[in-house]
């Protein structure tokens, strides 16, 4: 073989490899759904998708494969806005799906009313993950700002989970100061509420002063806390906390449930325009409804999401969830749009914490 032939053969080989690796596999005759989701649902949807495919085959005789995409909730929403053709989205906050509706018109603005429980088939909350034996004696939110305690949380600017952390801490102070959260938004208690809001801002600022690393997403923070051994308390999604314990060692961490936390409602929605384009509306709708079915609820509880219908889940799974007072974002913060604007947008309350004095 001459050099010339070798060059030609190599080039042809490289080209063939490039084409083979980049072209999509061509499977025919079956429906495909794309579920664009956020980070901590990976394990849950892996199992749920199989169960759905079986059920759909039994019911209709058609094969369906569900493809998953995971990532930070905001980033995923942006991908859909920019043209990632998701049939359904299952994200961390309603704000992100609102953004899809508002910026791309791919689904109607009132999407959240289309499914039960604000379109959240399962809920979660924010808990504390501490090191075994709880050496710093962390019991509640106040303990987080004790001297010598380091707190791990992702950056609320980039992580949906971190926004829940921040708001949960805020809600705790309001409750502590006011005693009754129904005073928020009631004109009769306006002054009292304003004072409490100031205390909440001070508390959250003090809390974030104790954060040595701001990872961009929840999984990154889990690694920082669990594998790098940094920090004393990790503010975490409840399901992430359970996962960290199961994956990384029961003998290393324990979960502390504070006196009050926030009801995190990760919503799901059909992306109408893309589903219609793919002709998958029926399957996609059935997929979302299946989340509310006994099978879906059982699997959600198995993967540490709080089921909206606990009666369908295994009693043993449900027992793992500690009862805790949960406030909703509508109740205290006037909904996501308002919370985002006041707290997390540029120049908002969160940015004030890091303003140089």
């Amino acid at each position: 073989m001459s050099t010339h032939d070798t060059i030609r053969a190599t080039t042809a080989g490289l080209l063939a490899a490039a084409v083979a690796f980049t072209s999509p596999s061509l499977a025919g005759g079956q429906q495909k759904l794309l579920n664009v989701s956020y980070d901590p649902t990976r394990e849950f949807y892996a199992e749920f998708n199989k169960a759905f495919a079986e059920q759909w085959k039994q019911k209709t005789g058609d094969a369906v494969t569900v493809q998953q995409s995971h990532g930070g909730s905001g980033k995923q929403a942006r991908s859909v806005i920019d043209g990632l053709e998701a049939d359904v989205v299952t994200l961390a906050l309603a704000y992100d799906i609102d953004a899809i509706a508002a910026k791309s018109g791919l689904l109607p603005a009132e999407w959240q009313q289309r499914l039960p429980n604000n379109s959240s088939p399962y809920t979660s909350t924010i808990v504390f993950l501490v090191r075994k034996g709880n050496p710093k004696g962390t019991r509640d939110w106040d303990d987080l700002i004790k001297p010598g305690v380091e707190v791990i949380t992702p950056n609320p600017k980039t992580s949906g989970g971190a926004r829940w952390n921040y708001l949960a801490a805020w809600a705790y102070v309001l409750k502590r100061e006011l005693g009754d959260l129904s005073k928020v938004g009631n004109p009769a208690f306006e002054q009292e509420t304003a004072a409490a809001q100031r205390r909440a801002q001070e508390f959250v600022a003090a809390l974030f002063q104790r954060v040595p690393v701001l990872d961009s997403g929840a999984r990154g923070s889990t690694t920082t806390f669990a594998q790098r051994g940094i920090g004393d308390v990790f503010l975490s999604w409840e399901n992430e906390a359970f996962l960290a314990i199961n994956e990384l060692g029961k003998d290393k961490f324990e979960i502390v449930v504070p006196s009050i936390s926030i009801l995190a409602e990760p919503p799901v929605a059909l992306v109408d325009k893309f589903a219609d384009k793919h002709g998958t509306r029926a399957a996609a709708t059935a997929y979302l409804e299946f989340l509310y079915s006994p099978v879906g609820q059982r699997l959600a509880a198995k993967h540490y999401f709080r089921p909206s219908r606990p009666e369908f889940a295994d009693a043993a799974d449900v027992k793992r969830f500690v009862k805790v007072e949960l406030v909703t974002i509508g109740q205290v913060f006037g909904g996501w749009k308002e919370a985002q604007r006041t707290h997390f947008d540029d120049g908002g309350v969160f940015d004030q914490i890091y303003k140089p004095k």
């Binding site: 942006r78 950056n155 600017k157 690393v213 701001l214 990154g220 790098r228 940094i230 940015d351």
Partner: protein, 297 residues
């Protein structure tokens, strides 16, 4: 004095010649028109169109918001970190990359080929992997972090960590650009210098370094450009504390998370212009050095 004038004239006539060639476009090689057209189309599609879109996007915000986005104290702090760390990392790489290239080219020792292959690793490794690996090593309790901590040196989650990551990813650029130049540098030149009575230091400074300088400068600017744009590896080791260890790319991502496309594009435009300015400066320096060398010779 006469000498000086003579030199200037030489330089001028040299310039003229270059310009004449460029204008007449006569070349023994055929296909100039086709290849120029192809180059322009390709560059436009791959480079110019996306950049133009970026500028258009940032303009959509209006001047006031554009200005507010790029002058925010937090953003300014991130410019300082990004460009400062990138420059420093490129300088470190220029020095140590040169030494590595020198050892690899000039000496024969067992394991040389393996070392040579190792240099490319930071190229091939996904940046996120390098970031995670570096963080694991330098974090408190990590292999190196454990020993540095008692000395009061914190690397991971500080600006120093950013510097370490940028040095890591930039190394191959310097080594790989200097290596061929070193190989071309004939040993006879050094021997000639020595036989003409030059000491080792003089040979290095007067013979070797000037010959290597253009390649070194190219390597430096490549390492610099890469470091300015780096995201993946830095994000894990930086700690991302506002005002302290946030790089500019992270702020762009942050803006995107808030669906503030115009603000993100505005910061990107600043980075683009600054990078362009830096690279332009490096190229101008290179051109100046080349000319001085040619004229001097």
């Amino acid at each position: 004095m006469q000498n000086e004038e003579c030199r200037m004239q030489n330089a001028k006539s040299g310039e003229w010649q270059v310009m004449r060639i460029a204008l007449k476009q006569h070349s023994v090689l055929p296909g100039f028109g086709v290849s120029l057209g192809y180059t322009m189309t390709y560059l436009s599609l791959v480079v110019l169109v996306p950049l133009a879109a970026l500028f258009a996007r940032s303009a959509s915000a209006g001047w006031g918001r554009f200005w507010a986005a790029i002058c925010d104290p937090r953003v300014v702090a991130s410019y300082r970190l990004t460009f400062g760390a990138a420059l420093l990392a490129a300088l470190i790489n220029a020095v140590f990359g040169l030494i590595i290239a020198w050892s690899l080219v000039r000496y024969r020792f067992p394991g040389r080929r393996i070392l040579d292959a190792l240099v490319d690793l930071p190229f091939a490794l996904p940046t996120a992997v390098s970031g995670i690996a570096l963080t694991a090593i330098y974090a408190q309790g990590g292999w190196l972090g454990r020993w540095l901590e008692p000395l009061g040196i914190k690397v991971a989650f500080t600006p120093l960590g950013v510097l370490v990551a940028l040095t890591f990813i930039g190394l191959p650029f310097v080594v790989r650009t200097v290596q061929p130049a070193l190989e071309d540098l004939e040993k006879e030149m050094e021997e000639a210098a020595a036989s003409l009575g030059a000491g080792r230091w003089q040979t290095l400074r007067r013979v070797i370094l000037p010959a290597l300088f253009p390649a070194l400068l190219t390597g430096f600017s490549l390492a610099l450009a890469r470091a300015i744009g780096e995201y993946g590896s830095v994000i894990f080791i930086a700690g991302n504390m506002p005002m302290k260890s946030e790089i500019t790319s992270l702020l762009i991502i942050t803006k995107l998370e808030q669906y503030d496309y115009a603000g993100a594009a505005a910061i990107a435009v600043v980075m683009l212009l600054a990078s362009f300015g830096l690279l332009f400066g490096v190229n101008a320096l290179q051109w100046w050095v080349n000319r001085r060398q040619r004229v001097g010779a």
